[in-house]
Symmetry: D2
Subunit: 363 residues, 4 copies
Amino acid sequence: MSSIWNKGISVSIFGESHGPAIGVVIDRLPAGEYLDMEQLLTFMARRAPKKDKTSTQRREKDMPNIMSGFFNGKTTGTPLCAFIANDDPHSTDYLKVSKLARPGHADYTGALRYNGFNDPRGGGHFSGRLTAPLCFAGAVAGQILERRGIYTGAHIAEIHKIKDDSFDAITTSREDIIELRKKGFPVLNDAKGKRMKKDIEKAFECGDSVGGIIECISVNVPAGIGSPIFDGLENSIAQLIFGIPAVKGIEFGVGFNCARMLGSENNDEFYVNEQGHVVTRSNNHGGILGGISSGMPITLRVAMKPTPSISQAQSTVDMSKMTEETLKITGRHDPCVVPRAVPCVEAAVNIALLSHMLDYPHF
Amino acid sequence: MSSIWNKGISVSIFGESHGPAIGVVIDRLPAGEYLDMEQLLTFMARRAPKKDKTSTQRREKDMPNIMSGFFNGKTTGTPLCAFIANDDPHSTDYLKVSKLARPGHADYTGALRYNGFNDPRGGGHFSGRLTAPLCFAGAVAGQILERRGIYTGAHIAEIHKIKDDSFDAITTSREDIIELRKKGFPVLNDAKGKRMKKDIEKAFECGDSVGGIIECISVNVPAGIGSPIFDGLENSIAQLIFGIPAVKGIEFGVGFNCARMLGSENNDEFYVNEQGHVVTRSNNHGGILGGISSGMPITLRVAMKPTPSISQAQSTVDMSKMTEETLKITGRHDPCVVPRAVPCVEAAVNIALLSHMLDYPHF
Amino acid sequence: MSSIWNKGISVSIFGESHGPAIGVVIDRLPAGEYLDMEQLLTFMARRAPKKDKTSTQRREKDMPNIMSGFFNGKTTGTPLCAFIANDDPHSTDYLKVSKLARPGHADYTGALRYNGFNDPRGGGHFSGRLTAPLCFAGAVAGQILERRGIYTGAHIAEIHKIKDDSFDAITTSREDIIELRKKGFPVLNDAKGKRMKKDIEKAFECGDSVGGIIECISVNVPAGIGSPIFDGLENSIAQLIFGIPAVKGIEFGVGFNCARMLGSENNDEFYVNEQGHVVTRSNNHGGILGGISSGMPITLRVAMKPTPSISQAQSTVDMSKMTEETLKITGRHDPCVVPRAVPCVEAAVNIALLSHMLDYPHF
Amino acid sequence: MSSIWNKGISVSIFGESHGPAIGVVIDRLPAGEYLDMEQLLTFMARRAPKKDKTSTQRREKDMPNIMSGFFNGKTTGTPLCAFIANDDPHSTDYLKVSKLARPGHADYTGALRYNGFNDPRGGGHFSGRLTAPLCFAGAVAGQILERRGIYTGAHIAEIHKIKDDSFDAITTSREDIIELRKKGFPVLNDAKGKRMKKDIEKAFECGDSVGGIIECISVNVPAGIGSPIFDGLENSIAQLIFGIPAVKGIEFGVGFNCARMLGSENNDEFYVNEQGHVVTRSNNHGGILGGISSGMPITLRVAMKPTPSISQAQSTVDMSKMTEETLKITGRHDPCVVPRAVPCVEAAVNIALLSHMLDYPHF
């Protein structure tokens, strides 16, 4: 519950944006898994702020220090704790914390939830910065999955009405995914990517922000993973994905478009392929039927709202005085969180897949 | 987990479509809650098959028998078990169970998950019939919430490209919801409803099926309910909603449309209303910020695929022989599950809300 | 939690002593496990009231009806629900339920916990009758474990100061356990058993009751099962054992006696046996070190208080009037619950072991 | 599960004896609770090694650094992480780690559980050092409980056959508990304490160790806390107490002695006291009936085995070569862990009580 995912593996995230440190405890990892630290840092660097106008200017080293559960280069099977120091917080004075609820943020709802005792500086525990430990956990899970052939990749599918191409839900390979990860701005169609970047820069110049959609795919997931009703892959992935701030929707396979189709169009017929495996001719179901993997690529799309921090004047409420005020947010912020959220989506999917793989019936 | 929801309250669903009975155990309900049995049956009747062409002809009484946790008309606080006998299963011979994987169903994935030992008759534990105990649990949760003023209602927002009007995300009242529930075919705009019905009938006549979208709203949810990261209202509602078969997507507030908006358009500004409450001028956020309720109506939309059971010939695989075969599904089935899924969506939301309300910090 | 055990397998127990039925839902059982129904009923019959003076005269058929999760004689892997009708409740009038808190029972604490709304008839959900579904779940788990060679057996180790012999913690075999189960009054030394029976009968004649100790052993548990800190075998077994009413203590291996020993006496030295396995020369540790099985037999002892229902006059409080009254309990009750609790202890241990076996690192 | 307690509050413990740090994440604490840091350190100092012959000579500063969940001197309600650096590990060379399984330790079982990948240095995650974060969590829970009047205290009840006096299970007050905590060697009867200390010193001189029993009491726990079957106070306390290394038994109230009593002796009669509260004349039940608090003091006793690390020669197995060897443990170790385990027992009880208090039905 709360900031804990507790199924298969458990992932307990802690920290506030302007506190001494943030981090994560991952429990029940399989023992003896080699972790490639460079690959881990590369994964996390994809989430870190970029040095251009598409991203916040805050310098975060995001260097995770592993404190436990890791010995001689391998997981021990006991809890793995990673720690990320907050070495660059322009720490606001404790006493002068703003009581103006920023629209689109959790300032107001968080204050009510915790009777005003939560740390409000920089969003506190609600800050997007808390996706760093999520990425760490997802990167660890990803390495364990990749060693078994299972690769997860994502790209920016849409920014403010500008659409990228889509993954091929049948043929996308692990090589395609590896290639995609190398891109600084992860899109399938670089021309579209250029237009997106320009749009983000324009929003930034206007003191505004833009939203977008991320598409994610997992390949080589064996058929038969997942459980019925409340414990299917879709349930778990959705629960984890909504752990990323700014997510407002998720769909699998053709998703909302299935609502516009006939059954005869939407059903994916089964056949036996050349390797003797049961596969489907189309993949409208996104690799999941009844909550359980079909062996086809798992595909999903995630909607992310525009960064709520904009530098335009907004009218809002001072929570301490219950008066209406005008707020102008200054300081560093992302005009679009979508690019940095791409590895977060992969991380959440990795955690879900590994958790379910560990439930797999080997007994 | 698996068929257990275990947070705040727990809901453990059991049964197979053609077994002796299906049912549910609900644990940790607050004690002393009066349950109106007639209202419960009315709720469940909304999920039951209709006596017209829009629905399966299977006659299900769906009479829940309460076996425990209920004394002198009130919940006892100990586990409440409800039991629904399967009194009308046209039970297939145990030995002649089809090995043809029905496209779009969990026949293939379920067989792999359980090494072929699951009960395949009528979809077994994956059958849509298992939403009856879900509705029972949701109806119980709903009565407890309604006694505290919190009402949840839903309507068919779209069937196969035909769109209903939308809830007003600011002004919808509990009276609107009560009115809506009385409708046999729950839409806001009855003219649109007529067109939808015709479309469903047409699909039925063609041996085909159609999908759709359900929109749901919860009003009077107090601000401050929910928790960060993995335990927000969106996480919980999504996890529960994907427990309804055929769901392929969920979005909150403006949902996927937020991806097409600027931050200055999407942010909902706060103000203090005449009653002295903090509210927002628009409700693009769907009543949830940072996983926590804002006090505004909670709005969400759920995408449902067309019923995979269609009577047109489909090509598929015989799982026992690994041969390709042609399948023609005969017998009763819904040409569109969306109308019957409307109370299921409400049920899932009720369970999520009650679970979070019980976490509310009263200590 | 509450009446749910949720780890490895989950066991959700429902029902009240005088309600329509009691039962259990077992989720996440491995699929394809054959269940021998006769053996199941034999297990449950060991818990059922005996037809002599050592036990209550209430006639309980305790016939479990399996409603789900069981197909063609085998577990399906989906939730298995068993249902036991309460066909012999001398149901008290709903309105005339006693408000006198029976000493040693949960009448007073249960009424406070549930604000008086719990079903008080016959102890309601707190009744020893609820151990019938526990035994059912434990018997199912036991069959799955026994098919892998793991046998659990228990005997009455002490009744009211009369002590039975002890299990040999090194050499006890599955054959010894099978033999023990056949006994109507499960003791190792039948002469001691005779004396115990007489003592129980004497207590019955005096309108009194007696307590005792149960010793339990599990053989052939592979080494390496269990997890550190909060999730060791001792933690899990203890949590489950305290689910049996009247249990007031548990100890593993030499238990409380270890407090009187030197380290040099208590430590069990390792050696390699003829089969090439690492074993210990003594078994003071009861087969568990650091929460994890050592491969030696697991041994534990459980203390049970005398049945609180005695027919002697007791002074107590009327909870509705807050007055002191004299209570004389009439009707059926066990003068000693220990003999009937023997299979309950085995059941709890079986559930713990199977839950941990399913966590075993096969990934 | 594993090293996570997840109920009411959650407590996730991480770290290894010779790794960079150990610590704990506590989630779902109520917000706005003032924490007295000096009192916290005093609690932890009671667990720290003493500077005399009764305890290990290892110098542990055990200074917890709070990294999150704490703002302006109060809990925020979001996860509280505390971190304890291992600044004094005489770190063994990574390559020369002993493969001799120390008798009575988890070296052998841990190696099997984790396929040899766990960190074996100083017991790794199985080290008694991991009780430092447990004490931290318990001290935090304790402060929250004490502010509501609930005090938990413990003393050494027995060391190697030398018995202390017992708590009065009726009259013990919070003042008694506060007084007891001030003692360097926590016993009720200091003359007995002196004899115990001498016995421990003698064991130390002989290269041996001794075990003992801890008695614990909680006063002013309101009646009605706890839940039936698997989720009673006894279940939870037992599960947590077995998280302390070396614990081999637990009993509540008269515990194992209840097995020697008649029902008429063991039952505690209720009456209404001068303050108008329902109380019992005796407290054999240890303040818990049916898993739920009765309002009487909660009493329990915990058996701890002698420290397995002794400096006498022991015969054991080299796990890498499967040969029998002679082991002589050198270096720092406690001849008796009982004195340092006293606050650990209090900590475990505090965590259980706070977890259940947060379940209390306020809805």
